[in-house]
Every structure is written in C-alpha cells, then in structure tokens.
C-alpha cells in the first residue's frame, strides 16, 4: 500500500493507491492532545522538546481535542477525571488513537490500591498502544507514537470510512434518471 516516489522529467511524483497516499499524509501529521493528569505529563512535555523532537515526524501538540488525532493518557486517572477524559475523547474527530502512557494509565500502577484511581485507562477508552515504565522515557513515548504511525500505515481508512458512510446514508450520487452533462 505504500506509495512509491518516482522521479519524472518535471519533478517527482508519487504513485500508489489513494488509501496509501492518504495514510502517508495522515501518518506524518499525527497531532497529539496536550493533556496530562500526573507526573507522566512532564515526560510528555519533554517528548515534545528538542532532544526527542517528535516534530520531525510531524507530531506536534494541539491544545484542543477538536484538532488532535492522538490522546496520550499521561498520568494517574482518578474516577472523577475519567469522565472528563472520556469527554475529551468524544470531542476528538475520527480517526483517533489512544496511547496509555506509564504504569498508571496501563493498570493504575503505583496507586492501584487507592480508592480513587481507575485501574487502567482501557476500562473506559479503546487503547491502541500501551507503554510500560514509570515514567516511560521520552524515547519510549516516541516509539509509541511511531507504533501508531505503523498502525495508520496498514489501515484501509478510506475504505472503512466509505463503508461506514455508505451504510449510514443512501447512495450520495444517484445516477439513474439523470441527464448526462454535455
């Protein structure tokens, strides 16, 4: 599905299925939500910094869920916060991905014995990538984001979206009975 870049007499061009071209674009503009609930958020900020520099993969942070593609669960999630995180997730536009970053977001981690902590982000969100560590190093988070990129690469997104669109709505372009344009 990966498009190939060809060199022509008048410059380069890419050849490939439309899904692959779309995925190529999507994969290199993976914007994550600038949101964290505990100490892992410090590593999340560090990941955006110049040393790891996720910007070179097109990953930049956005401050609003409407513009974000990835929700990074960075930190301990309390029961009261879980409903707010769910709200943020619901506000994000499809396609969207979730990374559970650190032991707390994976299982409750260090605070698993607490009465107030959710025992894992996957109890209320569909998690795509789990990153172990307490906190995971910026390199690990970067790898997690690159795993999302790999996932995007293999995804027939357009086909999926078209199928959903078609099943939801009547055919958008009825051809029978139409006068052909001259």
């Amino acid at each position: 599905m990966t498009p190939t870049i060809e060199r022509g007499p008048e410059g380069g061009f890419a050849v490939g299925p439309i899904d692959g071209l779309l995925n190529l674009a999507r994969k290199h503009s993976l914007w994550y939500l600038l949101f964290g609930t505990a100490c892992c958020a410090i590593e999340l900020m560090q990941t955006g910094g110049p040393r790891t520099d996720t910007d070179r993969f097109g990953m930049v942070f956005r401050s609003t869920p409407r513009q974000a593609d990835v929700l990074v669960l960075a930190g301990t999630i309390s029961y009261k916060m879980a409903s707010r995180i769910r709200l943020l997730y619901d506000q994000m536009a499809e396609p969207k991905y979730v990374i559970a970053m650190g032991s707390c977001a994976n299982t409750g981690g260090l605070f698993q014995e607490s009465y107030a902590v959710v025992k894992g982000g996957d109890l209320f969100l569909p998690v795509d990538v789990y990153i172990p560590g307490c906190p995971p190093r910026p390199e690990s988070l970067c790898e997690g984001l690159m795993l999302i990129q790999q996932k995007i690469e293999r995804e027939p997104w357009l086909k999926k979206a078209w199928g959903k669109y078609k099943s939801d709505k009547p055919d958008p372009m009825p051809t029978e009975g139409c006068e052909p344009l001259r």
Partner: protein, 170 residues
C-alpha cells in the same frame, strides 16, 4: 504553651466557661477540646478575639477511631470521630487546634458562617468520612464522583478499594 497561647486560652475559658472540656499540648501545638455544640461559639470567640484574632481557618479534618485498641498506647476515644479545626492568627502568628468528638450519624455544626474556607474543607470531611455538617450551603462530594457510595477514609472501607467494575461509569 507560650505567653500568647496561654492568654488566648484564658480568654476563651472565661468566655465559654464549662463548655471547654480539656486543653492540652502535643506535637501539633495547643489543642482545645470543646463540646460539639460549642464549636460555633468557640470559632466566633476566637475569630473576634481582640489581641490574637484567628483570621485563618487553615483546615478542617477528622479522624476515625473505630479501630482503636490498647496496643496503640493512646487514650481510649470518647466517641467514634474526632474533628479538628486548624486555626491560625496571621497577625499574631499563633496556631490553635479545636477538637470535638462526635458519633457516627451525628451532624456537626458548620463553620462556614465564620470562615469561608471551611466550605471545601468540610466537603472533604463529608466526602471522606461521611460526617454531615448542618448549615453548610453546598454539602456535596468533592474528590469522589457524586455517585460514589462509600466513605473511603472510614476504617471499614477495604484498603484496596472496591472492585473497579462496581463503579458506575459516566
């Protein structure tokens, strides 16, 4: 007790009389133990004290004594819960604790008419111990979700918490 604390306790004793049950000093500072019903009077007297006005209510907190035993080496508790009011006088740099005991199900008088900062502190005590405060303007849970049914800092609450699947998820 330093001079300032002694004088403020003296004035409090003359103002409240027999409602003061005990005055003692421990690692925290000076603790004045009063009847539960005398808490508003005590707070009012301390807040409007002439030379050391206690203008800051730093905290309201409680202790559950239901698991007390001889081995703890402490005095047997007169009731299940003890309430503590942590008062501070910014101008006189003096701290004083008010202690009051109450049983389960008993409502404590709210300190919100005297100190606005008591609002959230009392909500915390209500959330964690299930102690109600009569006269509180907005007694809701503060840390836990509204549909949480337990009081987590009570001793009978399981240490690991209840099963996460038991929680209604919003």
């Amino acid at each position: 007790m330093n001079r300032q604390e002694t004088s403020v306790v003296e004035r409090l004793k003359s103002a409240l009389g027999g409602k003061i049950q005990d005055v003692y000093e421990d690692g925290r500072g000076v603790v004045v133990r009063v009847e539960l019903s005398a808490v508003p009077d005590t707070l009012e007297a301390l807040r409007s004290d002439a030379s050391t006005p206690f203008n800051l209510l730093a905290d309201v907190t409680a202790v559950d004594w239901s698991r007390w035993s001889e081995e703890t080496g402490m005095k047997p508790p007169p009731a299940r819960f003890s309430l503590y009011y942590n008062l501070y006088s910014i101008s006189a740099t003096t701290r004083l604790f008010i202690e009051a005991w109450l049983e389960d199900g008993q409502a404590a008088p709210s300190a919100t008419p005297f100190y606005a900062s008591a609002d959230w502190a009392e909500r915390t005590v209500f959330d964690m111990f299930g102690i109600r405060f009569s006269g509180h303007p907005d007694l809701r849970r503060i840390y836990m979700p509204d549909d949480f049914e337990y009081s987590p800092l009570r001793k009978e609450f399981p240490r690991r918490g209840v099963d996460p699947q038991d929680f209604p998820q919003e």
